[in-house]
Amino acid sequence: MEKTKLSMYQLYKDMLNTYLDSKSEHALYAAQQFSKEMMEKDMSPEEMVSLHMSVFQEMVPELPEEVVDSFDLLLEVMIGYGLAYREHQSLRDRQRQLESELNVAARMQQALLPEDEIHAPDVDLGVLSVPAGKMSGDYYHYIQDDHGCIGLAVADVIGKGVPAAMCMSMIKYAMDSIPEQRLQPAALLESLNRVVERNIDSNMFITMVYGSYDPRSHRFYYAGAGHEPGFYYSKKTDSFEELTTKGLVLGLSQKVSYKEYVKNVEPGDFFVLLSDGVTECRTEDGFIEREQITDMIRKHIDLPAQEIVNRVYRELEKMQDFELKDDFTLLILRRKV
């Protein structure tokens, strides 16, 4: 430390000499570099003032007493700045630490999402989920059983960020604990509702849509718990219809029953499940209409499902000036043949 001080002393002295001699731009630039080095070496503003004074006194030994005394006063004033600077530094360190913890949590959350691909020759699945912040209150899930039946879900926890993300993991674990209901959307929602109701705060809730597709009978069963309706696309009529479901959000009351719906899926038909981050998308001109979403899907309808969801996301992101206001999740499952 003493050595550093000594070298800073010499450096400053040379710099000050050059400046007093030439008053050049170059010397001023050196001063900027010097202040960076000061910060790197954790020198406080008051130390700097004291350094200046010592160097100057050595260069001009006969300084008037008032000048020397005035520096003492300046030193006192700079102490306050020094304290604030150190506090700022410790906050910055703390923030870095929080951020890295949050990054770990976000990676853990990512690990809760399904990884394996669906292996079924006649269906095409595409899904994309993007959090508005680091952590998401949205959840999606898909799973395939030994008969090739596919279970699918999109859930949206009220709110965003860490509290929503913690709730989301509850949904994941609760679903894992009831594998036998994977293909019974209404029964599954009823079970989940009981778990959620017992475990969440009184002004939180979760909305969810759950569907199961049986590729042998080409039937899609689905039920919803207060969730933003998805869409069903019929190739034959080339039209979208709303996948409206009736049912209360999860977590409000213990005994809720959900209605199950069924659709016969023709080749080329697909269904779209989404979170309200897709439809509640707000732009400068107001809210996006649901029709705009189906228009976007239609524009890319000949592409694979994954490409469709990617492109819809990119368009919506652009419309919001690349700043998502809410978590975004979009899932498409299509019957190919």
Binding site: I158, T207, G226, L248
Partner: protein
């Protein structure tokens, strides 16, 4: 965005008039003022939303909290003056079946 909250207390009735947007930013303030009203015993709490054009899901959460609080305190909760966008939200979430909601009669075109 701002939210104005006006609470008028009568003998058996509390009229809470809201004006502005109910979202993640205004929810803490709404919760702080609305929940204590719903915790009073044997009251009819009426929340007038005719001055509200937007509610997000955290806003709905407050009404759920309010509903649970009135259930516990033996009071009732009624929501009036909802516009189309807000009503849609209550319908989708199924909350229209558990909360008494009166549709705005002076709906704007």
């Amino acid at each position: 965005m701002n939210l104005h909250i006006d609470i008028k207390e009568k003998a058996q009735e509390s009229l809470v008039s809201l004006k502005g947007e109910i979202d993640v930013y205004t929810v803490p303030k709404l919760k702080e003022e609305l929940i204590p009203v719903t915790e009073e015993p044997n009251k009819h709490v009426i929340v007038d939303l005719s001055g509200v054009n937007y509610i997000d899901s955290t806003g709905l959460g407050v009404f759920i909290g309010a509903l649970k609080a009135t259930d516990q305190s033996g009071s009732t909760l009624k929501i009036t003056g909802v516009n189309d966008r807000v009503r849609r939200l209550f319908t989708i979430t199924g909350l229209d079946e558990v909360i008494d909601i009166e549709v705005n009669e002076r709906e704007e075109a």
